[in-house]
Amino acid sequence: MNPHLAERLALVTVALALVAGACAANDGRSPEVVTVFGNQRGADADALRSVFDRFESETGIEVRFTGSASFPTAMRERVEEGNAPDIGFFPQPGLLKDLATSGYVEPLRDDVAQIASSSLLPSLSDAFGSSGDIPGFLFQVNVKSLVWYSPDAFAAYGYDVPATWDALKDLTQRISADGSNPWCLGVSAFRASGWPATDWVEDIVLRDSGTAAYDSWVAGDLAFTSEPIGSAFAGFGNMTLEAGSSDRDRRGILNTSPAAAQDSMFTDPPGCFMYKMASFQRSNLPSGMEIGPDGGVDVFLLPGSSNESAPILIGGTVAAAFNDSDATWELMRFLATPQAGTAWAERGGFISPHTDFDSGAYRDDFDRRMASLLADADIVRFDGSDLMYSPVGTRSFFDAMVLFIGTDLREAAQQMAEDGYDR
């Protein structure tokens, strides 16, 4: 036999064997599965499911999603028990950063980071301030610096939407003077009780002390016991906790859920006139209520301290990988693209962080309005408590707000929040 032919035959045999082996391996295996863990439940989980359905039909990779109301605790436990999901959907980038510091998170692959950042809204580029590198990307955002109000009630009582912080203070005083309660407020949320009040404090710090102080505070450099933070606590208290400022007393505020706090805005006469709450509050509106100047409810942006455009606080979901498998990265790559969100956007309640997201995909004008608010904003910052060192951001800051609302002991509350740092 020609030795070359023998060589070639041997090569062909080896190649055939490899192919056969590969086929056998594939035949015997069920499809690859990627597990995702987040905090979405009910309708949001269904919407997310529709995103994964699209990925599954394109790739044949199966996605198993679990969402939990106690995500921060459960995620940390899973990771520390060695039972991490392949991908985590973090509403708290601060927790993600903590886990990354302990070496649990896979660094973002370059191509995925590239896809995610190439079309990120310019206004979001500084959203994480000086909190350092976060080994994930924003999948979805929501606008937090909103005030919900009833246009009909405002018209009936002759109130105008305030354009500046001073005008907002004046309106608050005027509504009180008229014998009504300006603000709706409720902070009861099991382990996260107090969070709506943290949003108030964050928005005030951002407005009164600027981005430098805000970023330094969120990064853990500026203490909770410092003057700028103390004055933000006081500003929140003066606006909403003084007798007659809210439709509930302090105990009532502690016992009312954020979803239910708005309800007295829609009574006649209104129990309260304004509710500072994120864009996702839309899912708690009375059924069938339209949002807009002619609808039953509308929103205005929490004004800035001067006439210049107001800073916007956002929340959102950051995706991060805990497994280096190709299937995991395939899903991460898909989620980083602007198109990934369209299936959710069509169902409503999704706002994309991307410039080239097709705004025609949004279900209604409200989502589209939120997207353009974000795109046009000069200053955008991520929710401080979600970004902080997580024992502070998901525990001691919340507890401090509960203490402050319940007792008005401002300095003790500031100290309590600060004590979450083990330093």
Binding site: F37, R41, A45, D46, R64, T66, S70, T73, A74, E77
Partner: protein, 345 residues
């Protein structure tokens, strides 16, 4: 001939024919004379109101004994039997008047119970506060259809065999007509229209099952007069067809519901097994498991546990979802059981 044989023989229409006297006994019982109509109607509506009052209070007090009392007082059986009989003897006037009596009886029952709820049951504001006797009447199943058909057969038999009339109370109890109507009124008053619909479906099930069964028994007992029999049971057929069609229409939602109940029970068993593996320290205090159309499962669970760090809900959600192959929403309320004992002195 054995007693059973005799009975079967008696049911054969070709061999048995009621005498004119027997037939008139039945019709006198059922068809009210124009002369006595006022008295009959007064008695009917008085009993209707009283029976509904008993039913509504019995339901509210969750007392089976009182509810059975209401069933015994209820006068609805007469116009129902009269409707069936009028169909068979082709008496259009009697047919219309029986149906009219029946319909106004239904309206009076629902109205009375709404009134009672408005006046006396003001603590009933949500469906959560309702006693089990009310809730149990909002979800009729195929079992209820079976009970109604059997009781209808008994009712028809008792009517055409006057010596058996002492059994009539038993029939009335088996196919309760007034308690479902009282339930409809209570639920309508508190705005639970969906569940009121369920209770009304239970009433319709009983009503049409009785009419159908009674017609069958009456035909078999030779109730139809000979001159009408020659026409080939035309009216009997119309009556049978109409009530059979209505019954089949009712059986569809009942079947769907029954299948749903069986699936939910099977699903609840699956959840129970998974809970035991999820947390051996947990005891199920209460479990509501619902497989919804569209393949979504909802579990509401109360567990008591001796562990200060109970297992998180997501692990159970994952395990159950894996087992049933569909999306699962789980809410768990934990009840921590801690005991501390001391003795002093």
């Amino acid at each position: 001939m054995s007693p059973l044989g005799q009975m079967l023989n008696g049911f054969r229409p070709s061999q048995r024919l009621m005498s004119e006297y027997e037939r008139s006994m039945v019709t006198t019982e059922l068809f009210w004379d124009t002369a006595d109509l006022k008295a009959h109607l007064a008695r009917f509506f008085t009993l209707m109101v009283l029976s509904t009052l008993l039913a509504a209070f019995g339901l509210a007090a969750n007392s089976v004994a009182v509810i059975i009392g209401a069933m015994l007082v209820a006068p609805l059986m007469t116009p129902i039997l009269a409707t069936a009989a009028a169909l068979l003897v082709v008496d259009l006037r009697m047919l219309l008047s029986s149906i009219g009596t029946l319909a106004s009886g239904v309206a009076v029952a629902i109205g009375t119970s709404m009134f009672v709820t408005w006046v006396g049951l003001q603590n009933f504001t949500t469906t959560y506060s309702l006693p089990s006797e009310i809730l149990g009447r909002t979800q009729p199943s195929l079992l209820d259809l079976g009970v109604a058909i059997a009781a209808g057969l008994a009712g028809g038999y008792v009517l055409t065999h006057p010596k058996a009339s002492s059994s009539l109370p038993g029939v009335a109890i088996a196919v309760a007509l007034v308690p479902p109507l009282a339930t409809v009124g209570i639920l309508l008053k508190i705005g639970a229209t969906g569940q009121a619909g369920g209770a009304f479906l239970l009433f319709l099930t009983n009503l049409f099952a009785i009419v159908l069964s009674v017609i069958v028994v009456m035909v078999l007992s030779g109730f139809i007069p000979p001159e009408i029999r020659l026409e080939g049971f035309r009216n009997a057929r119309i009556g049978l067809v109409v009530s059979a069609v209505v019954l089949i229409a009712i059986a569809v939602p009942l079947t769907i519901h029954t299948v749903g109940v069986i699936q939910d029970q099977r699903f609840a068993r699956t959840v129970t097994i998974e809970v035991a593996q999820w947390d051996p320290n947990a005891t199920i205090e209460d479990l509501a498991a619902d497989l919804q159309p569209g393949g979504r499962a909802v579990v509401d669970l109360i567990v008591s546990t001796t562990s200060a760090a109970p297992q998180p809900s997501w692990k159970l959600a994952d395990a159950v979802s894996e087992r049933v192959g569909s999306a699962v929403d789980i809410r768990i309320r934990y009840r921590l059981e801690v005991a501390d004992e001391s003795t002093s002195g």
